[in-house]
């Protein structure tokens, strides 16, 4: 009797111990984009993508899509390096870049003073403005949406919410409401639990199609950022010049514009590589 129990236990335990062997056959989503030439170092770069931000990056049917992704894929093919795309949520992605777990970070990343201290950036390829969105049929215009005790939503931990808080510091009478995702904020906006919402231009155009909202105004001054790719401080692998050259090539051959119109649409004009004015970032 004991022998039977023991042999059964032996079988179960062996099975449990053997099963992890199948685990190492991979689980993370790897998208190797083979280049024409392998770099002398033979290094496979890890590009981190925050796939939560259409139209810049999203994950559909098992693959990464989006403006950021397509631009990077084109540059990778052009320059011949080997890259593995890794999907990390934004909170983990930025420290992972600092710690060297990924070599580059893409995901509509904004050039801000605080980030400049710990991360190096490529040349910006777009300048993003903020939109103030209100519910369709709302009486708010851009002035009333941002005053009079109005409840304004912004993505928590992002530049939108920081901007709202900076407004509060300047004694603007609003209540800043953080939301973890834009979807939750938009649902509340439609339901009337918040009066307005701050969102980025490119993303907002997408929301306009899906939700019952309209644009109250566009923020030019005070909320305008360059969109860049982030690289580890010190840029040990010279990725910045590689990406910058790639961006320039894409723009000059017209491929950038073609991707732009295809993915982001024609409501906004693509801007192409912009000069990186380090001196003016932190005043």
């Amino acid at each position: 009797m004991i022998k039977r129990i023991l042999s059964l236990l032996l079988v179960v335990t062996t099975f449990l111990i053997i099963s992890p062997i199948f685990v190492f056959s991979g689980g993370e989503e790897e998208e190797k984009v083979p280049g024409a030439v392998v770099t002398p170092k033979g290094k496979v770069f890890k590009f981190g993508i925050d796939a939560d931000y259409p139209p810049w990056s999203w994950y559909e049917e098992g693959e990464f899509h989006g403006m950021d992704v397509e631009v990077l894929k084109a540059i990778i093919e052009h320059s011949g390096i080997e890259v593995e795309f890794v999907a990390l949520p934004w909170e983990t992605a930025v420290p992972a870049l600092g710690a060297g777990k990924i070599d580059l970070l893409a995901g509509a990343m904004y050039l801000t003073c605080e980030r400049e201290k710990v991360i190096d950036f490529t040349r910006p390829y777009f300048r993003e403005h903020g939109f103030v969105i209100v519910k369709k049929g709302s009486e708010h215009n851009i002035a009333t949406a941002l005053s009079g005790g109005s409840r304004v939503a912004g993505m928590a931990g992002g530049t939108q919410y920081e901007w709202l808080q900076s407004l509060i510091e300047q004694n603007v009478d609003i209540i800043a409401v953080p939301y973890e995702t834009d979807e939750l904020a938009l649902k509340d906006l439609e339901a009337g639990r918040v009066d307005a919402m701050v969102s980025d231009e490119t993303v907002a155009y997408d929301y306009l199609k899906q939700y019952n909202i309209e644009v109250a105004g566009k923020i030019y001054k005070g909320y305008s950022f360059e969109v860049v790719y982030g690289v580890k401080k010190g840029d040990p692998d010279n990725l910045i010049s590689l990406i910058n050259d790639g961006l320039k090539w894409l723009w000059e051959t017209g491929k950038f514009q073609a991707l732009w119109y295809e993915i982001i649409g024609s409501e906004m004009q693509p801007l192409g590589p912009l000069p990186l004015e380090r001196e003016t970032i932190c005043e």
């Binding site: 129990i5 199948f22 689980g27 559909e60 983990t92 899906q210 982001i264």
Partner: protein, 232 residues
Amino acid sequence: MENCCSYYYNMDILIKEYKSLLTGALIVLEVATGHLTLGFVIGLLLAAMQVYGNRFISFTAITIQKVLRGIPALVLLMLVYFGLTSLIDMSPVVVAIIALGLRSSAYQSQVFRGGIQAIESGQREAALSIGMSRLMTIRLIIFPQALRLVIGPWTNIFTMEVKDVSLAYSIGVLELLRRGRFIIRYTHGNAMLIYCTVAVFYFIIVRIGNTLLYRLEDKLLIPGFERRGGKK
């Protein structure tokens, strides 16, 4: 813009994305199996150290499992991801298995300890009195009976730990929940549908595991012995 984020309503999106979701479910199974096994082995070791070790060994074991139980799983994941991987390079799946496995071992060791101690006193004396060595006693008498008692509580741990796997999204493991959220994100909707699907997947996994464990408990049942935490 129409090309960018086309949206689907109702079942179309499931048909389109079923492969991704299925892969996500398989990854959940992979990580769950891996980390439960790791937790099993380490948990057994910790339990043995605690019950049979001298004061120093058992103190070490107790401290280890207290620490591992006291840290939130997410924090442990981050510690292993940023800490351990700076020494050796590991894929996020392995990191998840190690971190969650360590944490699970703490819980499992307590369950094993309870089982061993329940059998321990009476049976050990009886075995020693008929001349069995200490090692023989542990191997042939105590462990088999203890493991039998342990299956009930272990089912609880299994249920808990499968659900903890979703935390691995934070280090880049594209498991079921994360994939579901991706879909909601780019389709700007379908939240109810996707989350219900994810819930069903998890429920199926947990249910199948529970059923298998109950069957195992049935097979090992000794008539007259109490069954812990199972169905009557």
